[in-house]
Symmetry: none
């Protein structure tokens, strides 16, 4: 195993585990305790992790790089949704991904050989695409809202006005057959309306817990949405009444 390979593996595990024993690393990588120790020293020198007594922990830079790496639960609702959503991606598309959690995971799961342009107002999402060589990223700038980890404001809107993407993947807090798609934050609801206007087609990906949920600020009625992707079957009883939208 190449040293670089080992170090990559260390970082990959640390992105998920946040903290690892040197002994466990030694077993995992099938090299001596000492070799692992040397690797770890080197990685610490590079600012990629922090060495502690008997082990290593993630540092802030790696935390930022790893994003929300608790990840998508195997076989869970979200994984089903993301798998369905990935099917809409085609080579050479231009897509808008806003700052929702689902979109972050979708971005991560973009096949490495897929050529895309991603427009986003989410720094973590942009960074999730660091290793996607074939994905061009356009970052929308504005005032950074730490709570949501997205940029918003008039500058974002101005940039969007000049775009007309193929697809917009809209993140929401809730979707209801009569109250439509909604959110808890006013400015963000306005921004998403603008994102809809800046794309030919709007897709909303939600897990079933969000169905029937209504929050304070409506983004749009169901009929304005082109495609609804959920973990449910399209003919599920819970999706009855969602008219004027393609269900997947």
């Amino acid at each position: 195993m190449l040293k670089e390979e080992r170090q990559q593996l260390i970082l990959e595990h640390l992105k998920t585990a946040k903290k690892i024993n040197l002994g466990d690393l030694s077993n995992m990588l099938t090299v001596s305790y000492d070799s692992v120790r040397r690797d770890v020293i080197e990685l610490e020198d590079k600012g990629l992790l922090k060495k502690v007594h008997g082990g290593v922990v993630s540092n802030s830079y790696l935390n930022i790089l790893s994003g929300q790496r608790k990840g998508v639960k195997k076989g869970g609702d979200l994984e089903i949704v993301i798998k369905k959503a990935l099917k809409f991606l085609k080579n050479n598309q231009i897509i808008i991904l806003d700052g929702g959690t689902t979109n972050f995971f979708l971005a991560e799961q973009i096949p490495k050989n897929l050529t895309l342009t991603v427009i986003t107002n989410s720094p973590p999402l942009a960074m999730a695409l660091n290793d996607h060589e074939n994905v061009e990223v356009i970052l929308l700038g504005g005032r950074y809202y730490k709570r949501y980890q997205i940029a918003m404001g008039p500058e974002v809107s101005n940039q969007l006005k000049r775009f007309y993407a193929d697809l917009y993947f809209m993140g929401i807090n809730g979707i209801d057959k009569t109250k439509g798609l909604s959110l808890r934050n006013y400015e963000e609801s306005i921004l998403k309306q603008q994102m809809m206007s800046s794309a030919k087609s709007t897709i909303c990906c939600v897990v079933e817990e969000k169905i029937g949920v209504v929050e304070a600020y409506q983004i749009c009625p169901i009929s304005k949405l082109n495609t609804l992707v959920t973990n449910l079957e399209p003919d599920s009883i819970d999706l009855l009444g969602f008219e004027g939208v393609e269900k997947v």
Copy 2:
């Protein structure tokens, strides 16, 4: 097997595997270890891969491991620099932080009780400020350059034109008394010149290894810089000849 054939096979294999042992290549291509090594050297010279001890990796494999970053060592040069730099921060200032490593660590070390506005084109830096409640963050949007993890492009410049911050902390690759401040990337050097124009005062923070280093693209001569912060004493012999700049 022709050399060209072999080299093509190496690249194809690397595309899939990302990393290969030289020994495995030797077996696979049924040529001596030495011939493989020569092939690999040639391919590296062409920039098509990266040679590492005992093997090769694809160029993108080392994105995170490539030694551009340095950790902040306790008592090390960088820590001294950052401590000095922090002294320039005052309540209610508006500062520009570009995407250098030093600025990332500086951002992290901003006291939690300090009220600031930070303008930045660096998503990781914006995210490093997630827990700083008193720091407002303005993210400059544009095309996201994954290699440098910054946004650049005309949109960034347009946004900057409308700003006039108190301070600009400029990240560089090298500083030399006659050749000034320089960088390895052309677009970035232009952007930093624009950032200088968008701030009342420009501060450059560097560790001593960067002193005397000259890279391809000059940002500005020393005299245009307001303040130089290094880990050295201001009257150090290594700082002789740096005229027209405040040394800290």
